[in-house]
Amino acid sequence: MERGAIVAEVRKAFGERITEVDEAALEPFVRCEASTWPDLARFLKERCGLDMLVCLSGIDRGKGVGLEAVYNLERCDASRVGIAVKIRVPYEAAVIPSVETVWRTADWHEREAWDLLGIRFEGHHNLVRILCAEDWEGHPLRKDYKSPDRYHGIKNNVV
């Protein structure tokens, strides 16, 4: 199944729930609302055979846009057909349903995105910080993040 076919099938199954499709981009993607995502994820894995979650990137798109999670999915066979799914959420309600039951690697990736960008993944069994210390404040990869002057009495030398 080519990428075009996957997109067509997704369009057929989800119709209006897919808000944007860009196949001409450097990284072709499908965009949907956060509420559609669990269904779409299951559909992509079970019907389209995209059995590998290659990467989950959280991106802070800046004021007025919000946070974005990009899921790079791929079929783990010789064709290596893949597509990205992008989900945008506003800052004040940065919640995306977790897909750790669909692709188990999403477990750590969602923890990372929560840790660094503060996207909450609803339904994750253990959404705690993974890279930063447990008592770290703020989400460092947000564009409005200010690094603290001190951490446990250790001075921050970075200007």
């Binding site: 981009a25 590998m52 990467c55 991106i59 690697t105 910080r129």
Partner: protein, 389 residues
């Protein structure tokens, strides 16, 4: 391990008449076998591992945050510090993502492509040598480690001749490579290849063929293909499970389609497909394949430019987003770069293969023995610099 795994389940408290006490063991972050600062919480019943949970983040150096604060050219050298054993691959992966932003008009000079392939494959050999050596050490054989280091040392010296550094190369740059390679260096690499191949046979005799080693690794930590894919494992870990996925073959980047090489996969020679021995053996075989590629590249390397003129000294990638992956020695190393047309990239996300590979540890180490846990961690061959970024 399957039969033993079930017997362990029976041994677990509640399942047996004899009441035993579980012990919570904190392995790491300072432990000789954790290959860095990995911390694993192990719940043990005697020597049996009932459950374990890896804790990462002790080496978090905010790579992604750094990249949002330095120019694209400067970001290249931060990638060196990810998987510091395969810094060439990291450089290449990042540069490929940046080059993709420029679109298909950007043509990398032929010579640079060949140099990239040679460097990457040599670096893959160096990295696998370290993986094999430390794996031998994990199961108690210290001598192969020193032998592997002897060979690795030669590769590092070659790199020192090529780019001046032994570990953090900062050599592959957007649009090409930093410095040219002269003929004497190429001859040196050729000499190394002919020297190196017999040494692999020696490792086979000393370590891979050793009965104790085989018994220590076969049927231990069996990772099924399905589980490996579910956890996003790539590289030798996935291939060890019998899945012949290699980006150099499936989606040839650079000029890999020009070379002839095989993709070794685990076949369960001494046990089950996907056990520690398979993962180890895949690495040994990949070293041979890499040597093959290097030799082919040496034969056909053309002259000419080494850097594309299209990329200026001040690198300002065009607006856009790109996700590229390369087959690094530990698996698919991906970079998701977002550029807003400035000299500094808007966002860089690194898809680190070790991050995926280590997350599968609890699944495959349940029910094994404590000594097996060490062997399993070693066979996953993680680099914490990459896991924690």
């Amino acid at each position: 391990m399957s039969s033993e795994a079930t017997s362990t389940a029976a041994l677990a408290p509640g399942g047996a008449d004899l009441r035993t006490e579980e012990m919570l063991l904190n392995m790491g972050p300072q432990h000789p076998a954790t290959h860095g600062v990995l911390r694993v919480m192990v719940r043990t019943d005697g020597e049996m591992v009932l459950d374990c949970e890896p804790h990462v983040g002790y080496l978090h150096r905010c790579f992604e945050k750094h990249c949002e604060n330095v120019t694209t050219l400067q970001a290249v050298l931060y990638t060196d510090r990810l998987d510091y054993l395969t810094a060439m691959g990291n450089n290449w992966g990042f540069c490929m993502a940046v080059e993709k932003l420029y679109g298909p008009e950007l043509v990398i000079p032929e010579r640079a492509q060949y140099i990239r392939v040679i460097c990457q494959e040599l670096n893959r050999i160096a990295s696998h040598l370290l993986a094999i050596g430390t794996y031998g050490m994990d199961v108690g054989a210290i001598t192969p480690f020193l032998y592997c280091f002897r060979e690795r040392e030669k590769i590092l010296t070659i790199f020192e001749h090529i780019c001046g550094q032994r570990l953090n190369y900062n050599y592959i740059r957007p649009g090409g490579v930093a410095y040219d390679v002269d003929d004497a260096m190429l001859a040196l690499i050729g000499d190394f290849c002919s020297y190196f191949l017999p040494k692999i046979d020696e490792y086979d005799d000393l370590l891979s063929g050793n009965d104790i080693f085989v018994k220590r690794t076969a049927n231990v930590g069996v990772l099924s293909a399905k589980l490996a894919i579910d956890y996003g494992c790539t590289g030798p870990v996935l291939r060890g499970s019998g899945v012949p996925r290699d980006l150099r073959k499936d989606k040839p980047y650079g000029i890999y389609e020009r070379f002839e090489f095989d993709v070794p996969v685990g076949s369960g020679e001494h046990g089950t497909v996907g056990d520690c021995f398979d993962r180890y053996m895949v690495r040994v075989r990949e070293m041979r394949e890499s040597t093959r590629i290097v030799r082919q590249a040496l034969k056909s390397i053309p002259g000419g430019e080494i850097r594309s003129a299209k990329i200026k000294a001040k690198i300002r990638p065009p607006k856009g987003e790109a996700f590229t992956r390369i087959e690094n020695s530990r698996g698919d190393l991906g970079f998701y770069v977002v550029s807003d047309g400035k000299e500094v990239l808007y966002r860089v996300k690194c898809r680190a293969p070790s991050f995926h590979n280590i997350s599968v540890l609890p699944e495959i180490s349940r029910g094994s023995m404590l000594a097996d846990l060490i062997a399993i961690i070693g066979s996953l061959d993680i680099v914490l610099g990459e896991v924690d970024r």
